[in-house]
Symmetry: C2
Subunit: 201 residues, 2 copies
């Protein structure tokens, strides 16, 4: 066995330990008290190992959240496409509600939001690597519905993506109400059918 | 002239100077570099004057944004109610787009968002003094439309408020696209009419 593969394996293990440590630590102490020192101690590596790969605690946190969301790929999973747009969006919105309501996810995501608001470079990286590919996956599902004649061909796809997904994200951000499957369903009914026709009467 | 009114006037003038200084300073340096010292220097008051009224730079910033939004009252202005729901919501959404696109407003609001994400007490104060009264003003306009038979009586008013207003806020937060009157109109068409019927065809 040559030396290289061993070093690469060690490197990958250190990297995984750092990201895991950052994710859990920020959930415990919040972003303000997160530090490279504490991440290093939790991961059992030296500070310099972290600085070799990432310039700031925000960058480590970004990578930790990214890897948890996208796994080893650089692309988000496509949205389900069973041919039933309403059922597929319901599946995604309900899953989003439950995920955001999970404290394990909530705190790292809030911390990442702070990091991005404070660091324009990180915000750009988020837009390029997360927001834009995720948005494209959503647009692709809506395009499929357009081809199936379920949505108008002239629909503004970006406004449509915002209308479907933004209300859940804002309610989470401002803790403005419960994140439940019922809320997901109420939103979807409004977005698909329109306010004027919403509700059972 | 007694001593009290003079002291009260001085106090009010100091308070206004502090809030004005905080608002502009955060626009120049960002929240991370905002400090009570710098606010005091800009306002021409002593640090202790600020600490007498507010516990943190986040709390000063909150008050500065609050006073700019609500003026001297503790209540937001009601939404326009001309009897034409669509026209009234268009007025409000277009104005919101232009306001959020204004760098003078954008930076202090981003700073306040960071402050609230980092400080749970401030987030609670925001919910009580800003989010809830503003939401009630929006619900009131929708209730008026319900009484006029323009919206279903069974509509989930909170989900409806989110569906109408959250997409603009979320696009602003993530700088996910331009904040324009055209975007406001596209959102409103989707929210009122429903995705399925949206667009000219």
């Amino acid at each position: 066995m040559s030396k290289e593969p061993m070093a690469a394996r060690r490197s990958a293990a250190s990297r995984a330990a750092i990201l895991e440590a950052a994710f859990h630590l920020v959930g415990e102490v919040g972003y303000g008290k997160l530090s490279i020192e504490a991440i290093a101690a939790r991961a059992g590596v030296g500070k310099q190992t972290i600085y070799r790969w990432w310039p700031s605690k925000g960058a480590v946190l970004f990578e930790a959240v990214f890897v948890r969301s996208f796994g080893d790929t650089e692309n988000p999973a496509p949205l389900p496409d069973t041919g039933d747009l309403e059922a597929d969006l319901r599946t995604v919105l309900r899953a989003t509600a439950l995920e955001l309501a999970d404290p394990e996810v909530d705190r790292p995501l809030r911390a990442l939001t702070v990091a991005m608001l404070e660091d324009e470079a990180l915000a750009r990286e988020y837009r390029t690597r997360v927001e834009e590919p995720t948005r494209e996956a959503k647009r692709a599902r809506l395009r499929s519905a357009q081809r199936a004649g379920q949505l108008p061909a002239s629909l503004d796809l970006d406004a449509a993506v915002d209308a479907i997904f933004a209300p859940m994200a804002q309610r989470w951000l401002h803790r403005a109400g419960p994140l439940t499957e019922e809320y997901a369903d109420a939103l979807l009914e409004i977005t698909l059918g329109g306010l004027r026709r919403s509700g059972p009467n």
